[in-house]
């Protein structure tokens, strides 16, 4: 078993499938009266968040608590980081406190990788800059498998701000490993040149959303990350929504069984119309619930065995 989860590329098909199967068992526990398991009793999980986050942090916290691990939440605001402490010094502090796992979100791509060489415990990447967010990819894959019954051969369109999206990168890597065909869709300014070839052989790129929709089993809308945009990548929000937003007429072009996903938080009316976000095809709320199960599976598989 792997020791850290830094990138979706760390997972081969066998390990990824094991995580998804474990997540399915964890999901079954969510329906019980007693949701807590004694499995990780006495283990400490630190949530180290250098960037704002609602669902990911809460999701990791719920996952760790359901497995009876002790959870320490650390957010950069209100900590010694605002006094100028470096990541390394913070890491050594956590090390001294005996953290068995560190869940890290950081604005710098590669920070979790660096951290993994400083601490003895397992490091889980909960989003690093514009690089990767592997547990999001796992919960997305889990949601697709739960709704559509398989991943192999699925046509998945990932639409929007690919340039700034760690969710897109992790999803392309994981879904390709599991046999899905991914198409990246967005304005040329928001799709890095050669990204498809760099991530996987089977990934394609399209600049025309309407032509991709009729064959898609899954449409994953990405948030337009205005907070990371220093330049203007498209003329106006309205034009973006017109060309790449998923509205009701576009949703009608999808096959009957197709699902609509969004990692959240949404810009309603920008990349996704409110009617689409709230439609029965949308899995947005399910994704949040599945996130807890997927993260329980990851924590169990990283921490459940011999250290």
């Amino acid at each position: 078993m792997i020791r850290h989860l830094l990138s979706a590329a760390d997972l081969d098909a066998e390990t990824a499938t094991l995580i998804l199967d474990t997540a399915a068992e964890m999901a079954a526990l969510a329906g019980r009266e007693v949701k807590k398991l004694p499995t990780l009793r006495g283990r400490t999980v630190v949530n180290l968040f250098y960037e704002d986050s609602t669902r990911t942090r809460i999701s990791f916290e719920a996952a760790a608590k359901r497995l009876s691990a002790d959870v320490i939440n650390f957010s950069a605001k209100g900590s010694s980081v605002s006094k100028g402490e470096s990541l390394k010094d913070t890491a050594l502090t956590l090390q001294a406190m005996g953290a068995d796992a560190v869940v890290i979100r950081h604005p710098a791509s590669g920070a979790p990788h660096r951290l993994s060489s400083w601490v003895d415990g397992s490091v889980v990447n909960a989003g690093d800059g514009t690089h990767e967010h592997p547990t999001q990819a796992l919960l997305d894959a889990y949601t697709m498998r739960a709704r559509l019954g398989r991943l192999d051969g699925l046509n998945v369109a990932i639409v929007g701000d690919v340039l700034h999206s760690r969710v897109a990168r992790s999803n392309v890597l994981l879904l390709s490993t599991l046999g899905a065909n991914v198409t990246l869709v967005g304005p040329p300014t928001l799709i890095p040149v050669d990204i498809a070839a760099a991530l996987s052989k089977t990934t394609r790129v399209s600049y025309d959303l309407d032509s991709v929709l009729p064959d898609a089993d899954v449409v994953m809308m990405l948030r337009v990350q205005t907070e990371r945009m220093q330049d203007s990548y498209f003329p106006s929000a309205r034009e973006y929504a017109r060309r790449y937003g998923l509205d009701v007429p576009r949703m009608r072009k999808l096959p009957e069984h197709a699902i609509v996903m969004h990692p959240g938080p949404m810009n309603r009316g920008m990349e996704i119309a409110p009617e689409v976000a709230d439609s029965p095809r949308s899995t947005i709320v399910e994704q949040v619930a599945n996130g807890v199960s997927a993260r329980m599976a990851v924590l169990y598989l990283l921490l459940g065995g011999k250290a």
């Binding site: 199967d21 068992e25 019980r32 398991l37 004694p38 499995t39 990283l302 459940g304 065995g305 011999k306």
Partner: protein, 198 residues
């Protein structure tokens, strides 16, 4: 259950080719044993009313199904069958690499107020059963819990005993009991005692 064979104590680890092998129960023996336990359950529970059979994965589950099928054949009673995975409740998780977890499937109607009979293949240290009791505690409150095993090989580490035993086998710690059932291992049913020396 793999638990009883693999984990306790670590020194029982055997080389790939054991020095001696002895068949303890043949396929026909296993069938007779299952028939007898089915009868005993009917007798001891006055007709198996309000009873649920829960198999402990891997091999407890097919055994529980067989018991239910035999009870049905003898008295026409349908006893609910389920599976109770205990991996997440084990006390030795940290002693070895992470284990894949198995399936837990509770029969419709749950276990509250019912008599639960846990079914496993080998009773050894008793730790699997302890974990199963903990797991049961989290899924409901049975009126009582009983234990049925195909083989009791002794060497208990906890104060646990079985209510229904297929066969008692005196073993040495270094020996290993290997159960094969057609449903999970293919081929024919068989219980073998593998030892280091003859």
């Amino acid at each position: 259950m793999a638990y009883s064979q693999a984990a306790h104590p670590p020194s029982t680890a055997l080389p790939d080719v054991p020095a001696s092998e002895k068949v303890i129960l043949s396929a026909a023996d296993i069938q007779r044993v299952v028939d007898r336990i089915a009868h005993q359950i009917l007798e001891k529970t006055s007709g198996a009313t309000g009873t649920v059979l829960l198999g402990i994965p891997t091999r407890g589950v097919p055994l529980a199904r067989r018991l239910a099928a035999r009870i049905h054949a003898f008295e026409g009673i349908d006893v609910p069958v389920g599976a109770l995975d205990i991996t997440l409740y084990r006390d030795d998780l940290r002693l070895q690499a992470t284990r894949a977890i198995g399936k837990t499937e509770l029969p419709g109607g749950g276990i509250d107020g019912r008599r639960v009979i846990l079914v496993d293949d080998v009773l050894y240290s008793g730790r699997t059963v302890r974990a199963a009791l903990d797991a049961l505690n989290d899924v409901g409150r049975p009126s009582s819990v009983q234990l049925a095993v195909l083989v009791d090989r002794g060497h208990r580490q906890l104060p646990i005993r079985a209510d229904y035993v297929g066969k008692n086998i005196p073993t040495a710690l270094a020996e290993k009991v290997r159960v094969r059932l057609a449903e999970c291992d293919g081929g024919t049913d068989e219980v073998k005692l593998l030892g280091r020396t003859a």
